[in-house]
Amino acid sequence: METSQEARDVVGDYKSGWHDTENSTIRFDSGLSEKVVRDISKIKDEPEWMTEIRVKAYQHFIEREMPTWGNMSMLEQIDFEEVCYYLRSSSATENDWDEVPDEIRNTFERLGIPEAEQKWLSGVTAQYESEAVYHSIREDLVAQGVIFLDMDSGLREYPEIVKKWFCSVVPYSDNKFSALNTAVWSGGSFIYVPKGVHVEMPVQAYFRINAKNMGQFERTLIVADEGSSIHYVEGCTAPTYSTDSLHSAVVELVALPGSHIRYSTVQNWSANVYNLVTKRGIAHKNAKIEWVDGNIGSKLTMKYPSVILKGEGSHAEVISVAYSGNGQHQDAGAKIHHIASNTTSKILSKSISKDGGRGSYRGMVTVSPKAENCKLNIVCDALILDDESRSDTYPTMEVANPTARCEHEASVSKVSDEQLFYLMSRGHSEEEALALIVNGFFEPFTRELPMEYAVELNKLMALEMEGSIG
């Protein structure tokens, strides 16, 4: 396994765990107050209405209780006063890699981002701490009217589109962390795809937390106009520190009639990052929204990509995998609401837990009384690699219309000695055999990813399986 050796040379076990010298131009003191919220808005020179939403959201955050479900003991360990809410390392968003400050460019070069951009992407945005530091999009897409900007530039250049949709899918009052994000958001992507335009190659956003005790609160809004399509891919990494960082994003998708949005994530935060994210999309008539969601890293992830099937004939898919190792809890799942008739949805959730890690599937699917002839398909599979690890399933289904067709399957399995022996007899060491089983288990997910990501994910899992055999 050459890759693992390379990775090990760089950082020990967590492949993206190195950090560059922090060279921040502006770093806020730790802690949150209304002043911090207003200061963020001021630095960004935002319109009044945005400042007001931020302040309202902040008030709601203060009043709102912590969730009373999920891993409460881990959530209680978050000290909101220790978090740095805004950190800017570069004064501008560049569209030429050469203009990006050296240390930051090095980071993204080590992650292979500029190379990927040249080979297989329609556009790239790279966010370092609170702000996007690099941004580019192919000329032909610009000519077709596609907008792909970091969220701050989006708000400056297209305030009317942002105002129309911002908080329309995820209101700040949705939950404590959506309130926090709305109060202090910075960075993220803003995408608008005009009617009938198909963006063939994916656009990618890359999120990197580099500083200690950092809070990253990106905000993403994607609007696909009638009959258009886009595939958005995001990746996330951070260095390994002994203190925790907080990543709390909000993503809103608007799929107008007949459009198609696919949103793929490979989250590989280091094991000191809290990843508390709200992702939701609204699908209008005959539109299709797909979440392809991979959670490999982080300390605690709580994330349930959701789709509101508002228009007749719309379709939702959530395909997710979660890997929980030592000290990790992946509490992930999906939510789908069938509001309109003839809507269909599919959830495929796969989780692996190992070395005392904990994986939870938490899902909710509802069918409204007026929604006729809906079809739902839910499959949850868990693979537990040792006796210390744990897997739980919390499925909820509320079906208020008798014409709905629901299918639900769940399985929990362990790797058997006979399976390992079979693979070992074909020349594979015990660790390699385990990696073959694990990658096979994730295959229904990896085959949905762009090839480059799938290869990367397989390598990552092989790395996770190393040293796992006692």
Partner: protein
């Protein structure tokens, strides 16, 4: 000098047995299963082990491959003079041991084509798994076993019929080209055409190659097509009789009881 050395080595090799099992005692969780087994297979030879259920046939196969659940209490297993007992299963595979499983395991999500390539690379080296030679051997072997190319994109043993599983085991054997192939009840669950196909596969990869095979079976039918050089009969963890192919016919006609009676009679 060089020449005589080469000749000398060749002579040595041809005299040395391919597989040597000596006085093998083994068990699982404190229960004794094998009570001193001796088998010697020379290069190019095919042997068969016959016996009832529970007589220790599968245990013998698993122990030669290195199954971690079994404890070897005494004895030796050598492949071309090299001791196998201290090696891990994957190291034995690299030495040239292959086991066709009685119950091949499913690995959902792992594609057959990908798995074959990885296994060949692991056992025979990266070069052997690349390019035209690999593709041609694969194509030829699949044709011989009547397997459609769509088979390659299925998942390893996942939803395979009994016959497909057995053919897939033989396909792996043909690609991995082992020095010693152990076939554990590869004929069970196969119809007569399946047995004939599998036997063709065994013959083409063992006969005339200097490799050897150990066939474990209940029935003599597959032996009609493979024609073993020797047949060993295993009862209660001991080899009670060794003979040529007529032994299989006798067993088929008279059953194991006949043999037991005969042995008891001989002892008295």
């Amino acid at each position: 000098m060089f020449k005589s050395d080469d000749i000398c080595t060749q002579v040595m090799q041809s005299k040395e047995p391919l597989l040597e099992i000596k006085n093998l005692h083994a068990g699982i969780d404190g229960n004794v299963i094998l009570n001193g087994i001796d088998i010697e297979i020379g290069p190019g030879e095919i042997h068969a082990i016959m016996g009832r259920n529970g007589s220790g046939k599968t245990t013998t196969a698993n122990i030669v491959m290195g199954h971690p659940d079994f404890d070897v209490e005494d004895g030796e297993i050598k492949l071309m003079g090299n001791d196998l007992l201290d090696l891990e299963p994957w190291e034995r595979a690299k030495e040239g041991v292959f086991l066709s499983f009685q119950y091949p395991q499913a690995v959902p999500g792992l594609q057959v084509g990908n798995f074959l390539k990885k296994s060949v690379a692991s056992i025979k080296g990266d070069e052997a798994a690349k390019g035209k030679n690999f593709r041609e051997l694969l194509k030829k072997s699949m044709k011989e076993l009547n397997m459609p190319s769509s088979f390659l994109s299925r998942y390893v043993n996942d939803g395979f019929s009994g016959g497909e599983k057995k053919r897939f085991e033989i396909l792996q054997m043909m690609l991995l080209q082992p020095k010693l192939a152990i076939l554990d009840e590869t004929d069970s669950g196969l119809d007569i055409d399946g047995i004939r196909t599998v036997a063709t596969g065994i013959n083409s990869s063992i006969r005339g190659t200097g490799s050897g095979a150990l066939i474990i079976t209940h029935y003599s039918r597959i032996l009609d097509y493979v024609k073993p050089d020797k047949i060993h009969v295993l009862i209660d963890g001991k080899i009670v009789a060794t003979g040529d192919s007529t032994l299989a016919t006798d067993l088929e006609e008279n059953g194991y009881d006949w043999l037991e009676e005969k042995i008891k009679g001989g002892d008295e």
